[in-house]
Symmetry: C2
Subunit: 260 residues, 2 copies
Amino acid sequence: MIPDDPTSPAPRADDGIVTAGFLVIGDEILSGRTKDKNIGFLADALTAVGIDLTEVRIVPDDTDRIVEALNALRARWTHVFTSGGIGPTHDDITSDAIAAAFGVGIDHDPRAVAILTARLAGRAEINEARLRMARIPFGADLIVPANGMPGFTLGNVHVMAGVPSVFQAMVEQVVPTLGGGRPMLSRSIDAKVGEGTIATPLGAIQKAHPATVIGSYPYERDGRYATNLVVRSRSQEALDAAHAAIEAMLADIHSHMPAR
Amino acid sequence: MIPDDPTSPAPRADDGIVTAGFLVIGDEILSGRTKDKNIGFLADALTAVGIDLTEVRIVPDDTDRIVEALNALRARWTHVFTSGGIGPTHDDITSDAIAAAFGVGIDHDPRAVAILTARLAGRAEINEARLRMARIPFGADLIVPANGMPGFTLGNVHVMAGVPSVFQAMVEQVVPTLGGGRPMLSRSIDAKVGEGTIATPLGAIQKAHPATVIGSYPYERDGRYATNLVVRSRSQEALDAAHAAIEAMLADIHSHMPAR
């Protein structure tokens, strides 16, 4: 839901669940030239404060594609993060695309110009291209990392750099201020058997513990199949109950296995 | 455009450009527990054969979300790849979601059952859970990697494992059969100056060479800003002309810089 004032923050969901989408902007990720490092970093940071990352999209440096994806994501999730496309060159079109998506104007922002001027003093001239980095949509709040030029928050959208070190500094600054939901708790179990051996009893345990989500992640080591099981829940009680049921199931399976 | 027969391959675009979308299915990527390795691998493999990866989406293990994203992607791009959710456990719902998206039935596939039986012989019993991996939508062709259970191709959708080693084997098997487009050519230039110094002349070069896409990727090394410039084009002539213009621009800038 987009509120009437397009730049006002999204409402907090009544059920205590806070969601987020992430829009990665960059031809270089889609071509394979650059390998993304920001998705995993943001996922970890959000999980740590109890915000559910519920969708990621990667689109090229194309205004129409950015506007379309951004509007889909900001209408659906509590928060949206973007990465990439806020530098000084011709292919940096994110800020203008965000303004277009919100239907607001954009111009050189005095706060951003002041930061840019201070940061560049004695290092580089303030030319037209560098001033492009101070173009901020009307109504936005700046995100000012110690190690880069400003990003901004407009409504429920947080616009960040693509360079991982700057992206990470911005995430560490913004995410703790958002107000997380009831945190998702998790417990992991390393099962020394393949998925196919435990899938049927595991499915029964999932059915019997509907307040949990049980994930099953197969891996192979030294030629033997094994499985990482991860139980997640917002209820500690439900989490512990499902965890105990899985431990009991695995003990039962091991007691019936032939000695190696 | 979805063809009338929902399982027939997508038509090749007239302009010689072949596109692809990638749907990553997995709670574990969104929670940060697992860091994705498949996006970069697929991007490299597609770029190598002249197919443009134009969109990536990551969604949770949720049937409605998978169906919605898959239908959006397969209607828009020449090919769609999926990764994840084709194992034997209760959280592996991709094959059923694909069948639902196409509106076709799904059942144990005799070809897949035969492969499963042969692979598991002497290693593990064929139980109901393992047989789930042989559930294949009607009308699909199998993708059979040497190191895992089958995936499948249905219409323009290629359904693959999430485990990177199996995903990679499937990509190496499928992508070379697809018929690439006119390949995207590229040349890189390592500019020893920051983006802000070259942004204005670089923008002019981009305007003068519309058959190319010039990307600018800043980095910092030993406390100095520098920029990787990447020129891409489907025309060798246009590529070389833009590359020469950038080299001349950089030589001009360096001739005006003070000695270090």
